[in-house]
């Protein structure tokens, strides 16, 4: 076969009939293959022709090659478009079939809640301070204005190793240590950590628990600032519709002292079963730091004042995630831990 036009016609017909990439590939090799393709052979024979024919045939052969290449490209595009158009049928799989289980470990819900609390308070400029869990009597009680024989000691029944050494009953000793170390206010710190009280385990309390306490020492701090800080924290954690109430109470280390409550998230404060018809959920204690406590921390109460608060991380987690038994946090039951 030596007629370029004829070859072109033949090739275009073959291309038109090709149904797959492989068939097209075969046509391409047959006509354009480097050594044995019809068009290539035509071109390789040109050298032996007289010059006059050479030019004409050369042009015709190159035209044929370009036409075949163009047709191949067009047909390929057509076939690809058709293949893509049919994907919905040709490659369909059962999308309802589940994937293999992911062996993802879970971060403890108390870690998660503590992290949220820390993040919120760090955004207000508070810094995390830590301290020892086995504390001296002085840091745990005396420095916090709770001398031996003080009736309020009843509330902090503690585990002792010796008359001088005990498991801290709250994380407040960290505040004294921080004041002593930092010396010069402003001081804005939070102290998360474990604490211990001699209460038998039950659904609402354990002899071991975790707290986050906060302390601000600065110039001219007010009860309003304390309320605002708590409100900012609670709204950041639970949503902006929550309200905070401070109720007078008594702690030896603050004056005035308060309990602080959060409006019930279920009834919005109207009173329901979940809040025992009070409309409020008790969260923690707070107050303006007692001048003697500042003095014990080495801070001059005539120049500086402060506020402090504390609450249980477990309590916050229970409120946030509707957990009704505090013991679940410490039982390491994966069926519980994997819910968070």
């Amino acid at each position: 076969m030596s007629d370029p036009l004829g070859l072109t016609t033949q090739a275009l017909a073959a291309i038109g009939q090709a149904r797959t990439d492989e068939e097209l590939e075969k046509v391409e090799v047959e006509y354009l293959g480097r050594k044995s393709g019809h068009v290539s052979r035509l071109l390789s024979n040109i050298g032996s022709l007289p010059p006059a024919e050479k030019a004409a045939l050369g042009k015709a052969a190159n035209d044929a090659k370009r036409a075949i290449e163009a047709a191949l490209a067009a047909r390929r595009a057509e076939l690809e478009a058709a293949r893509l158009a049919d994907l919905a049928e040709t490659e369909a799989i059962d999308m309802t079939f589940p994937g293999p289980p992911l062996k993802r470990g879970h971060i403890h819900v108390l870690t998660q809640v503590r992290r949220e609390i820390e993040t919120v308070l760090e955004s207000l400029g508070y810094k995390v301070e830590l301290g020892p869990e086995v504390e001296t009597e002085w840091y745990n009680f005396e420095a916090l204005n709770i001398p031996a024989g003080h009736p309020a000691r009843e509330a902090w029944d503690s585990f002792y190793f010796s008359p001088e050494l005990l498991l801290r009953a709250h994380t407040s000793p960290v505040q004294i240590r921080a004041m002593q170390r930092i010396k010069e206010p402003p001081i804005y710190i939070i102290n998360p950590g474990r604490a211990y009280r001699r209460d038998p385990p039950e659904a609402t309390r354990l002899p071991y628990f975790s707290q986050v306490e906060g302390l601000a020492v600065d110039k001219g701090l007010t009860v309003g600032d304390l309320k605002g800080t708590l409100l900012y924290m609670i709204q950041s954690l639970y949503g902006r519709d929550r309200k905070v109430r401070v109720r007078p109470s008594y702690f030896p280390f603050t004056e005035p002292s308060f309990e602080f409550d959060v409006s019930c998230g279920i009834c919005g404060g109207m009173g329901c079963k979940s809040c025992r018809h009070k409309g409020w959920l008790e969260v923690g204690g707070c107050g303006m730091v007692h001048p003697q406590v500042l003095r014990n921390g080495g801070i001059d109460p005539t120049r500086w004042n402060g506020y402090a608060w504390g609450f249980g991380i477990e309590r916050m987690a229970m409120l946030k995630h509707d957990v009704d038994d505090i013991r679940l946090f410490y039982e390491s039951d994966l069926r519980f831990l994997e819910q968070f």
């Binding site: 062996k103 993802r104 470990g105 403890h108 108390l110 870690t111 503590r114 820390e118 810094k127 995390v128 830590l130 020892p132 869990e133 086995v134 001296t136 031996a148 024989g149 009736p151 309020a152 509330a155 585990f159 002792y160 190793f161 010796s162 001088e164 050494l165 498991l167 402003p186 998360p192 474990r194 038998p200 354990l206 002899p207 975790s210 601000a216 600065d218 001219g220 701090l221 007010t222 009860v223 309003g224 309320k227 605002g228 708590l230 905070v244 109430r245 401070v246 109720r247 007078p248 109470s249 008594y250 004056e255 005035p256 309990e259 303006m288 410490y330 390491s332 039951d333 994966l334 831990l337």
Partner: protein, 794 residues
């Protein structure tokens, strides 16, 4: 404390104030009302028992009553025998509900009609007494019970330990009056009513041995009393407050306790030998038969009231039976004293006996209260039990209460609260709470707290008084903010940094746990890790009497908990402190190293254990890498809790961090577990200290060449040793080397193994040729051959 709303109205006008509103005011001011019980008596009618006879057929003893209900007579059956003919009783007819919730039905009991019920005090929620029918001292049959007993509201309130004055109705009413801006109808100090001769102090000699434990003792003499039941209204109020009526004298002492918060005690004067009162510590072997019928062994740290011969009461806790007021009593000695709080608490704890009196003394009562209580009780006794109150009582008062004055700069109120309180409002609040306020020339206030408020000593205390009555709700929430000229830059907290570790572990399927730090000391001993354990002196129970020295037993326990619940594969970890006593240092705080520990399960075969251990090693490396710590080394080691052949010390920069390995088979089986457990536990603070910020390295410009090397050596040669040899011979061109496979079998001689390494070579300056790499590989082979007698496969 139980507060009767109706009782409060003795002291403050509650017109138009519902019990709920009163409870809200009290809660807002700091006396938290935890529950409010409304006792509606309007459906109960008064009946008069005409006839009482035993039920003829019933197996249990029952009584059939014919009860006059004013114009009609009904038959009512009761189990208690005390509604004898003539008794006036409360009756609940069928279809009504008694206040405790019981619905009354028309019944037939063993053939006898029972139309309604006779109610006990407990059923009417007028007290805890359900032993018999409540018998009234007056009332007209057919009238509603509310004609003699008003409907009640009982508040259960939490009084904070600084406010013993609010352990009585008068104090609570004062708070309510301040909140309502209504005057208190009663002065704190009643007038003295005694005038009889001879003077009381000549009739009983009172001495105080230990003035530190008893700062005041008033002994009032009242002669010629007539002991009998107290009036109905008094019994009712006592019951409402949870106190059982006894007789008029004892009831009056209890009544005044519930009114003023001052505990009182009445002795039968004729039974006191001397008659003398000595307040002293108990002596060796002394005993006391207390009013609750128990013989108490006394110890020298207990304060007693003694007569000339023996103890007759435990100071501030309970009286003695032998000298108690009885129906025969004619003359009494009325004790109103002040005892040291911690001493009373100690005695009450030692005896396991908490009384209304001890609960008040524990909170440190003001000595001035003793006089008010004594006067009030004496006048009630004279009024309700007859008797002559003698003049000039014994009042031994070795430690007179110091008057307190507080100087207040009134602007402090606004400064602390963060809102403006008008001065006249602040002054009015303080005055309603019985503080005296004198405004001085410089504008400061000289404030004299009432004698019953020992808790107020500094200006901030006065701010609190104003704030809580004015209303903290009114304080606008603000965020603090002023220009700061100094600060501490924020550093990520340790816990935030450790979140990187949590992520690595979570990705590997490990779940974080929080376990109690208090564990069983016996268990630590059994595991032989008790050497540095700290034991609690006053543990709640044996299973939490010691601080853990390792997190691993807690995690093994966590595995067991989850196996018990049907989970086979368990991976758990914890980040927490261990507690290690400093041996030899008394009263030193222990080391509290912060650690991460992980435990994973695998099946029982040695191969499975080895495979799981290798994986865990990568996890631990990943944790350290996530903290940007340097790579740690592993050195074969022996450690408690670990398998003797499968344990490595984890070493970072030459410092031992902890261990990784399989747990010892006895640890696993000791926890009742099958299969093998792999675990690690390391100290975290050294890793954090060694961590550094990653610095970017220039990206390689020339390609790397990878070669594998299979080394056949004796079993005793470790991969670590071979790797070290490879690195030494590899020179600068060897940029990475790692063992990836271990083989024993047909192609390797008995007693030997083949370890395959993958090596990466690269030059920062040029593309390496095969010949160059071949030369280095030959060096490496030579080195391994010489040092470890290694041979090479392929």
């Amino acid at each position: 404390m139980r507060i009767s709303y109706e009782w409060l109205s003795d002291f403050v006008d509650l017109d138009g104030v519902t019990p709920k509103e009163a409870a809200e005011i009290l809660t807002r001011q700091g006396i938290e009302v935890e529950s409010l019980t409304i006792v509606d008596l309007s459906q109960i009618v008064i009946g008069k028992v005409l006839e009482q006879k035993p039920h003829p057929k019933s197996r249990n003893p029952l009584w059939i009553h014919q009860v006059d209900l004013g114009g009609r007579v009904e038959q009512i059956i009761a189990g208690a025998p005390n509604a004898v003919a003539g008794s006036i009783v409360p009756v609940a007819l069928p279809g009504t509900a008694v206040p405790n919730g019981k619905v009354v039905k028309d019944m037939n009991i063993a053939g006898e009609r029972a139309h309604g019920m006779l109610a006990s005090a407990a059923e009417l929620m007028l007290g805890d007494d359900h032993s018999g029918i409540l018998v009234l001292d007056r009332g007209i049959p057919g009238d509603p019970l509310t004609t003699v007993i008003p409907s009640q509201a009982i508040m259960e309130a939490e009084v904070t330990s600084n406010r013993p004055d609010c352990m009585g109705h008068l104090g609570v009413a004062r708070e309510l009056g301040a909140g309502l801006q209504r005057p208190l109808k009663r002065d704190f100090m009643p007038a003295f009513t005694g005038g009889a001769d001879p003077p009381g102090r000549e009739m009983v000699k009172v001495t105080i041995d230990d003035p530190d434990l008893c700062s005041r003792y008033i002994g009032g003499v009242i002669t010629g009393v007539k002991v009998g039941p107290s009036p109905d209204w008094m019994q009712r109020r006592l019951r409402a407050a949870g106190v059982r009526p006894i007789n008029n004298i004892v009831d009056i002492t209890n009544y005044v306790l519930l009114e003023y918060a001052q505990p009182l005690h009445a002795f039968d004067l004729a039974l006191l030998s001397g008659p003398a009162i000595e307040v002293r510590r108990a002596r060796a072997n002394e005993k006391l038969l207390s009013l609750d019928g128990v013989v108490r062994d006394l110890t020298a740290d207990m304060l007693v009231i003694a007569d000339a011969k023996r103890p007759v009461a435990l100071a501030g806790v309970i009286g003695g039976e032998d000298t108690a007021v009885s129906d025969e009593t004619k003359d009494i000695l009325l004790e109103s004293a002040n005892f040291n709080g911690p001493s009373v608490r100690q005695t009450s704890r030692a005896l396991g006996l908490r009384t209304e009196a001890s609960a008040r003394f524990e909170r440190a009562l003001p000595p001035e209260l003793a006089l008010a209580g004594a006067r009030r009780a004496a006048s009630l006794i004279a009024e309700l039990a007859g008797g002559k109150v003698h003049r000039d009582w014994a009042d031994v008062y070795p430690r007179p209460q110091e008057p307190v004055r507080v100087n207040l700069r009134p602007a402090l109120i606004d400064e602390v609260l963060g809102m403006h309180v008008p001065l006249e409002d602040s002054e009015a609040i303080l005055k309603r709470l019985n503080f005296q306020v004198n405004v001085m020339a410089d504008g400061e206030w000289d404030v004299l707290p009432p004698v019953f408020r020992l808790d107020v000593t500094i200006p901030e205390d006065l701010v609190e008084e104003v704030g809580r009555v004015y209303g903290y709700d009114k304080v606008p929430p603000t965020l603090p903010g002023r220009r700061h000229d100094s600060w501490t830059p924020l550093e990520p907290s340790i816990d935030r940094r450790l979140d990187q570790v949590r992520e690595v572990l979570a990705g590997e399927g490990f779940t974080e746990t929080w376990n109690p730090a208090l564990v069983s000391g016996k268990e630590l001993e059994r595991l032989r890790i008790a050497a540095h354990a700290m034991r609690v002196e006053n543990a709640l129970s044996d299973d939490m009497d010691t601080l853990r020295t390792s997190l691993l037993p807690s995690l093994v326990h966590a595995v067991a908990v989850n196996r018990d619940r049907g989970r086979d594969e368990v991976r758990v970890y914890e980040i927490a402190s261990a507690y290690l006593a400093r041996v030899g240092e008394k009263n030193a705080q222990p080391d509290e190293p912060l650690r991460v520990a992980a435990v994973g399960t695998t099946d029982g075969s040695p191969d499975a254990g080895e495979k799981a251990l290798r994986r865990l090693k990568s996890v631990l490396d990943g944790c350290v890498a996530a903290l940007n710590g340097p790579a740690s080394a592993y050195q074969r080691a022996a450690a408690e809790l670990f398998h003797p052949g499968r344990c490595a010390a984890v070493v970072l920069d030459g410092r031992q961090l902890g261990y990784l390995g399989e747990l010892h088979p006895t640890v696993t089986s000791g926890a009742g577990l099958e299969g093998r457990l792999v675990a690690f536990e390391i100290d975290l603070l050294p890793v954090l200290a060694a961590s550094s910020v990653p610095r970017a390295q220039p990206l390689p410009r020339f390609p790397a060449v990878d070669r594998d090397l299979a080394v056949v050596v004796d079993e005793s040669v470790t991969a670590g040793a071979l790797l070290q040899g490879i690195k030494e011979s590899g020179g600068d061109l060897l940029v990475h080397a790692r063992a990836f496979d271990e083989y024993r079998g047909a192609q390797v001689p008995e007693g030997q193994k083949s370890i395959a390494f993958t090596l990466t070579f690269r030059s920062p300056e040029r593309t390496l040729t095969d010949a160059e790499v071949d030369r280095v590989m030959a060096e490496i082979r030579l080195g391994l051959e010489k040092r470890h007698g290694a041979r090479f496969r392929e």
